[in-house]
């Protein structure tokens, strides 16, 4: 494995080159691996968030790898512009060598988190239903948004109450979630909508649905609740100095779920 981060001679960054538990770290911690595709650009943000919650840095895995590190219990597809968003967002990355291993990992019940471009890749890889279209405004949207927790009690949302509202950052041009009505009905019927865009009071209004997503859907789960895709970036709200810790519960939930009971 070659870790692309930390290659610029700067002091060690979170996430670089550590796979086995660092000396002194708790035995039961999160073994996360972030996949780095050409054009992935939020892997550092994600590594910082995971390290803050888990107390140890995740591994960074280059897309040409064909196997996940032994003991991986969470795979993360981070934000960015994999393959420059050419063809369709996430379409080329979905066929990367490592994605076969990710698909198999998920099929075995492994936990996968896809954020922003990661969500797009999960949809393109048909690990989650639907697609992310151009924002309704036809512009890139970089701003705060509010999310409402629609499904508490999952490995990703255990720290939130049902209906809790939290702030997140959105930064995407193609986050307009789309699926046919039957699929949307099924997602809602089976409780697989994880988050909806809402206003600060928790109302899922049209104004709060900045990118035009179907039924204000911001994030969805797989039927076994172990694969989550969402557009906004909870990893950018894990530090009081950087605007708050509203996104931290997602990562703490994963630590709760995975450090206790390995997949």
């Amino acid at each position: 494995m070659r870790a692309p981060a930390g290659s610029d001679g700067l002091p060690a960054r979170p996430g670089a080159r550590h796979l086995s538990p660092a000396p002194g770290s708790k035995e039961a911690s999160l073994n996360a691996a972030i996949i780095v595709f050409p054009g992935t650009n939020r892997e550092r943000d994600m590594a910082i968030a995971l390290e803050r919650a888990a107390g140890r840095p995740p591994a960074l895995l280059f897309h040409r790898e064909t196997e996940l590190p032994r003991g991986t219990d969470l795979v993360v597809l981070a934000g960015g512009f994999s393959y420059g968003d050419y063809l369709r967002c996430g379409a080329i990355a979905a066929h990367s060598p490592i994605m076969r291993a990710v698909r198999e990992f998920a099929a075995r019940g492994g936990h996968v988190l896809g954020v922003c471009n990661g969500f797009q890749i999960l949809c393109e890889a048909q690990m989650l239903p639907g697609a992310l279209l151009r924002n309704a405004s036809l512009r890139f949207l970089s701003m705060d948004c509010h999310l409402r927790v629609e499904r508490a009690g999952t490995p990703f949302t255990g720290r939130w109450q049902q209906g809790a509202v939290f702030r997140s950052v959105m930064a995407h041009g193609d986050g307009n979630y789309f699926a046919d009505a039957a699929t949307l009905d099924r997602l809602e019927g089976e409780g697989l909508v994880a988050f909806r865009y809402c206003d600060a009071r928790g109302e899922a209004t049209a104004e709060a649905n900045l990118n035009g997503s179907a039924r204000n859907i911001a994030g969805i789960l797989s039927p076994n609740l172990r694969v989550l895709g969402l557009m906004p970036h909870p990893e950018n709200y894990v530090d009081p100095l950087l605007g708050g810790t509203d996104g931290l519960p997602l990562f703490e939930s994963l630590v709760d779920a995975l450090a206790a009971a390995p997949a």
């Binding site: 290659s7 050409p38 054009g39 939020r42 040409r64 890139f140 970089s142 950087l242």
Partner: protein, 741 residues
């Protein structure tokens, strides 16, 4: 002669004619003949014309740029490299520069702006730094014109399209509108990177026989003679120049950043430079020239995107996302493996020699053979005639009655093109990627970007007030530097150095050169007084269309540092704080936005900058911020005091009750005058701050108290202006202009 055969000279008449078409004067062409001792080949003529273009040679500006202070104990690399470098503590360096892409952005706004961002990113990572922040300084024409809206839309999309994709946050910038930019918008892009202070890479090529390596995208026919195009005025046929604009690919740039930084972590690189303006020509000539070497290039080895390209086309192409490196001998395989991993082209295209010449071979023939030393030493250098801008008489505030009243003026000002919220723009830029943006656009006077793994943070800003520069270039030049210094200071950070982007009209006109010289004089004085040296910069001349010049616009990019990011403050008002104004208020209305937007006049002298007071006031404010107790701070600039307070109130969504102005200054001059060197502080203990100011000899006055969340600005006498109404005016302008909502 080191070449095995001589280049094929052009027919003499044809060469003279082409030289003129390529922008060389007859006198300059005479120098080419003298240096070569013969008529040049087409490729040679191309090399001379781009190297001696205004854009690459700085031939009109160099004599003036030498007047700028460039040294300080913390300066590691001043002007002359790809970017400036300063030490920022913890063994780290900040690497930064600002560069214009004005001409391409007028012709093709999206690609022009996008490739502007790409080019400045390369200037920074070329030196071994990971880019951590982008900023920009933009100037557009009259917002009422459809053309202005089209250009603004394309430029903003282009900046976002490139910066968002490469994953470097765009954290700050400035925008002005003025009819002087109708035919010539300005797009100045700035990148700041972080490197280890002891691992800075330069373009100085050394080592006879060392391989010359080409990496990145393939070479195509785009951007040929872009540098020459950027060195001439526009006429009505600007549209026809579209083929000279380059096309950007931010995805390749992202791979190039990662690959270069990965290779830089080894010790395989001797020298490296990006292929920017004048592409392969300037990078090879400058690298060999800086090292006092010769260089041989084999163009057959250059990765090419199109078939049948000539040597001339390859040497002048400005295809994007390309770099040239000199490697240590025997390190080619190691380097190639890294670039192949990142799916980038890699080719050894030449060797360094000891001949002091650049020799270019293509398809078995020598296409160019030029001695490098005279290409540099004999380059034209002009001290062009200057005509001083006549000093405008100061405007007597008493001569300008207030036509609308304070409340109405404030409402109009906060919704005017130059003061309205820039949210519509920054909402299209990813300002958070990287996970270190402590203060985003609009949150503080300077963006605050923490350095990963450290408590330390950068404070970053871009500034210039062109209407001041037009009225009095020297005062305007001073003010541009002072405002950058002030914006950094207002966060609690220490200003360290600047990059400048000098945007002016046709230097062959004495009044334009007078503006240039005046701005430089003012900037130099401010840089000296504020210990704020220039470490990099860019000059963009010939910003004229149909003979009409832009306002003189010396855009300043300022960089400061704060040891603990947690101590940096923003401008959002905090409930319950007392408001204190630091700095002297005289009610200067000349060249103010109030005068232009409310009284409909653009006249008078701009506000003078008292550099001693600037320094004293700023050092006082910074010390108070770092001592704690200051909850918010905002400098007073465009629009004056009441606009500054309104901006703080809107940012915090907190109202305020204001005290009456002192006697002797008309109310509108007090509230909207643009006297310099001032800050509004929101403090927990106003009395303590006033006592400290008195002790420091700094003018300060209590001007009000912050109210509760929401609410209103309550003016002296009890009239109040609701924040909701102000917000509607402030936030409404750009969406209404650009989206019709």
């Amino acid at each position: 002669m080191t070449a095995d055969s001589a280049p094929q000279p052009l027919p003499a008449g044809r060469a003279r004619q082409l030289a003129a078409e390529f922008g060389l004067t007859p006198e300059e062409y005479g120098r080419v003949l003298a240096i070569l001792g013969r008529v040049p080949s087409l490729t040679e003529l191309g090399v001379f014309s781009v190297m001696w273009s205004e854009h690459c040679s700085y031939k009109s500006s160099k004599v003036w740029l030498r007047e700028l202070p460039t040294r300080a104990p913390w300066v590691i690399q001043g002007p002359g490299e790809n970017a400036g470098v300063i030490a920022i503590g913890d063994g780290l360096a900040a690497v930064f520069k600002m560069e214009s892409h004005n001409h391409p952005s007028f012709i093709e706004p999206y690609q022009g702006a996008a490739t502007g961002v790409g080019g400045i990113l390369r200037d920074v990572f070329t030196m071994g730094a990971r880019p951590v922040a982008n900023l920009n300084a933009l100037r557009f024409g009259d917002p009422k014109l459809p053309l202005t809206r089209r250009i603004l839309d394309g430029v903003v999309r282009g900046i976002g399209g490139y910066g968002n994709c490469v994953g470097v946050p765009t954290v700050g910038g400035e925008v002005n509108f003025h009819p002087a930019y109708n035919g010539n918008p300005l797009v100045n892009a700035m990148t700041v990177g972080i490197a280890r202070a002891d691992r800075i890479f330069t373009a100085r090529a050394t080592g006879v026989g060392n391989p010359v390596v080409y990496v990145g995208s393939r070479t195509g026919r785009d951007g040929i003679h872009g540098a020459t195009m950027a060195s001439a005025e526009f006429s009505a046929d600007a549209e026809e120049k579209r083929p000279t604009v380059q096309i950007g690919d931010p995805f390749t740039e992202k791979l190039l950043i990662e690959a270069c930084l990965e290779l830089m972590a080894t010790d395989a690189i001797v020298a490296i430079q990006d292929m920017g303006a004048a592409g392969l020509t300037s990078s090879s000539v400058e690298m060999a020239g800086k090292g006092g070497m010769g260089i041989e290039l084999d163009l057959d080895a250059v990765p090419q995107r199109e078939e049948g390209m000539s040597a001339y086309e390859m040497m002048l192409s400005e295809s994007q996302e390309r770099m040239l490196m000199i490697l240590k001998p025997g390190r080619e395989a190691e380097a190639e493996a890294i670039f192949r991993k990142w799916e980038l082209d890699f080719a050894v295209i030449g060797r360094l020699t000891d001949t002091g010449r650049i020799v270019i071979r293509h398809k078995g023939a020598v296409e160019a053979d030029i001695p490098l030393a005279p290409l540099e030493s004999e380059a034209p250098l002009y001290r062009r005639p200057t005509a001083e801008t006549p000093k405008p008489p100061p405007l007597d505030p008493a001569s300008v009655p207030d036509p609308v009243g304070i409340e109405e003026a404030l409402r109009r000002l906060v919704g005017s093109p130059d003061l309205c919220s820039r949210r519509w723009i920054w909402d299209q830029y990813d300002s958070t990627v990287g996970g270190q943006t402590v203060r985003r656009p609009g949150a503080a006077d300077a963006a605050i970007v923490r350095i990963e793994g450290h408590r330390r943070a950068l404070a970053l800003t871009t500034d210039c007030t062109p209407r001041y520069c037009a009225a009095d270039p020297e005062e305007g030049g001073k003010q541009a530097v002072a405002e950058a210094w002030r914006n950094i200071t207002a966060t609690g950070a220490t200003p360290l150095a600047i990059t400048d982007n000098m945007n002016f009209g046709n230097p062959e006109k004495p009044e334009i050169m007078g503006q240039f010289a005046g701005c430089i004089r003012g900037m130099a004085a401010a840089c000296r007084a504020l210990d704020f040296p220039v470490v990099s910069g860019n000059v963009s001349l010939y910003n004229e269309t149909e003979g009409r010049a832009i306002l003189p616009t010396p855009a300043i990019g300022g960089v400061g540092v704060i040891e603990d990011a947690a101590r940096a403050i923003g401008l959002a008002l905090v409930p319950g704080c007392e408001l204190v104004l630091v700095g002297a208020t005289r009610g200067h209305l000349g060249q103010s936005l109030w005068l232009r937007e409310i009284a409909g006049r653009e006249e008078g002298a701009p506000p003078p900058v008292d550099l001693a007071a600037e320094r004293r006031n700023g050092d006082f404010v910074r010390a108070r911020i770092l001592a704690g107790g200051v909850r918010a701070c905002h400098d007073v600039s465009d629009g004056g005091l009441l606009v500054a307070i309104a901006e703080m109130a809107l940012a915090g969504d907190v109202g305020a009750t204001l005290e009456p102005p002192p006697a002797g200054i008309p109310a509108h001059a007090f509230w909207f005058g643009e006297d310099q060197g001032r800050y509004v502080l929101a403090v927990e203990d106003g009395a303590a701050l006033l006592a400290a100011a008195a002790a420091a000899g700094v003018p300060a006055a209590r001007i009000g108290r912050a109210g509760a969340p929401g609410g209103a600005l309550v003016l002296p006498g009890g009239r109040s202006i609701s924040l909701a109404g102000l917000r509607e005016a402030h936030e409404g302008f750009l969406p209404a202009l650009m989206e019709g909502r």
